[in-house]
């Protein structure tokens, strides 16, 4: 008995320590970026164009570029992912075919992002002749986060109890009416939060846009979806590794990193807020 107690205590202690280690690491990274990045952030930094290959000036085109890419990704991936999930959980019969699809989705989630980049280059940039552009980048990012959205959406659809469907069908609702009125309203918040987390990831990715959308240095703002754009993660990558004076422009790097971090954290926070608000509204 006491032996068991002791080992249980030890297990708890171990888990707690591991948690602390993880938290300390994250806190350190955030702290470092904040300390070094905050002084750089200014009106000028956020709202003006870069000069001297990014060594001076601001990062407006990169911020806007990332925003455009994110919006494009949402527009493509969200409806596609949600409807796929609805089809898979509500309509598709359990069969070898749907099992294969599920397998494919899970596998897709594990594919390295550079592979998506190459895929996007081959399909959207070259074959469909979009060129390196917002649309090619968004479509590539959408492909990358589609599995995340589908899995998150499926989970939240499955979390709606079966009796909600049966109860509605028994009242003479059609299948779609049941899904639309009695399942989706309860699944939507979960679908949204899962999707936003996925989109947050897309916002920070470099590899998929490297070959499909991102420009090395492009101070002008895009005028159509077929234009190339700068993007925060790629800009950061360039400043940190490709720039001739990488060491001298550390502050610019930190500033860019901080903006990117804030964007992603902001997206995640948004997801959390949705979740909390809706939890309060629907309880079962």
């Amino acid at each position: 008995m006491t032996g068991k107690r002791r080992s249980e205590k030890f297990a708890f202690w171990l888990m707690r320590s591991i948690t602390y280690v993880v938290v300390i690491f994250i806190a350190y990274i955030i702290f470092k970026i904040l300390i070094n990045g905050l002084p750089v952030i200014s009106w000028n930094f956020l709202f003006s164009e870069p000069e001297k290959s990014g060594a001076e000036g601001g990062i407006l085109p990169a911020i806007l570029g990332t925003l455009y890419l994110v919006i494009g990704t949402i527009l493509v991936a969200l409806p596609l992912g949600m409807f796929s999930a609805i089809y898979l959980t509500e309509y598709a019969k359990q069969s070898k075919f749907t099992q294969t699809i599920r397998m494919a989705i899970v596998t897709l989630a594990g594919v390295p992002s550079i592979v998506f980049g190459l895929f996007g280059l081959g399909l959207f940039v070259i074959t469909l002749d979009f060129g390196a552009s917002i649309i090619a980048g968004s479509l590539t990012l959408a492909c990358m986060i589609l599995p995340t959205i589908i899995v998150a959406s499926e989970e939240s659809l499955k979390a709606v109890p079966k009796y909600m469907r049966e109860g509605s069908l028994a009242l003479g609702a059609t299948k779609w009416e049941t899904i639309y009125k009695n399942v989706l309203p309860y699944a939507l918040p979960g679908m949204m939060t899962g999707s936003i987390l996925g989109i947050g990831r897309a916002a920070g990715e470099t590899a998929p846009i490297l070959l499909t959308a991102a420009a090395f240095f492009l101070p002008e703002l895009p005028s159509s979806v077929f234009d190339q754009v700068m993007a925060l993660p790629y800009h950061l990558y360039i400043l940190a590794t490709q720039h001739p004076e990488a060491q001298k422009i550390l502050p610019m790097q930190y500033g860019t990193a901080l903006v990117l971090l804030l964007l992603v954290v902001g997206l995640n926070l948004f997801a959390v807020i949705i979740r909390i608000r809706v939890r309060r509204k629907y309880k079962w």
């Binding site: 069908l169 028994a170 009242l171 003479g172 609702a173 309860y186």
Partner: protein, 257 residues
């Protein structure tokens, strides 16, 4: 006898077999269920009562791989026929589930769910329906001041009566009840039973129950099922006092099941 002749048959089941995939759950069921009467289905757990009940509004259709052979007629129409509209059928045949299943919406919206589906939009008309159904299900006095509150805030017994009100709101002819009181305390159970006594005037009611006293109290006729077969069917009084079959007698006297 004279009275019996006036009784119309509402549901007619002929040589019905039912399968879950390759497993047969119901065997050659033949039964005639009268209109505006209460019929109780009794039998040991797993004998197919719920399965049979769910064939009557085709709720089994939503389970993958189920199959039905034979005929099920309601008002003379084959509900498994090619022209049957399942949605129409389920409007006519309401269902109360064993576990009360109010939706996490307001009391009002729960009851208005069905009518809204079927095109009632006018707020006044909806209110009328909600009130009359809550009155019928003997819940009105308890909830009339909080129709906009969540249905989840009701007690178990109230929730089950809400589900009955919700089923009545689509104006069915037949009400199927699958152990509607099994999760309730004696007082709430009694309320549900009283309610069934009221509803029998207007609806054809079929109730599955494990409670022999309950079957005796609420039903006109009783059907006893055993291992997927209909063993005996007749007036409740006869089934409970002088059953023809040995198995029926064993079951109602508590010798098995």
């Amino acid at each position: 006898m004279a009275e019996n002749q006036e009784i119309r048959s509402k549901i007619h089941v002929e040589n019905m077999n039912f399968f879950y995939g390759s497993v047969q759950a119901l065997f050659d069921i033949n039964i005639e269920l009268p209109e505006k009467k209460v019929t109780a289905f009794i039998g040991p757990s797993g004998c197919g009562k719920s399965t049979f009940l769910r064939t009557l509004n085709r709720m089994n259709d939503i389970i993958d791989g189920t199959r039905l052979e034979g005929k099920v007629l309601i008002d003379g129409g084959d509900i498994y026929g090619p022209i049957t509209d399942v949605v129409e059928l389920r409007r006519k045949v309401g269902m109360i589930f064993q576990k009360s299943n109010p939706f996490p919406k307001s009391i009002f919206d729960n009851i208005a769910y069905g009518p809204r589906l079927h095109g009632v939009k006018d707020k006044g008309k909806l209110m009328e329906i909600v009130e009359s159904c809550l009155v019928k299900s003997a819940l009105w006095d308890e909830v009339k001041d909080r129709l906009d509150k969540s249905a989840m805030s009701l007690s178990g017994g109230q929730q089950q009566r809400l589900c009955i009100a919700r089923a009545l709101a689509i104006n069915p002819d037949i009400v199927l009840m699958d152990e509607p009181a099994s999760a309730l305390d004696p007082k709430s159970t009694l309320k549900i039973e009283d309610l069934i006594g009221e509803l029998r005037k207007d609806y054809t009611i079929i109730i599955v129950t494990h409670n022999m006293q309950q079957a005796g109290r609420v039903s006109d006729n009783t059907a006893f099922f055993y291992e997927g077969r209909l063993i005996e069917y007749g007036a409740t009084e006869q089934i409970f006092t002088k059953p023809n079959e040995k198995q029926t007698e064993d079951y109602i006297t508590g010798r098995f099941g």
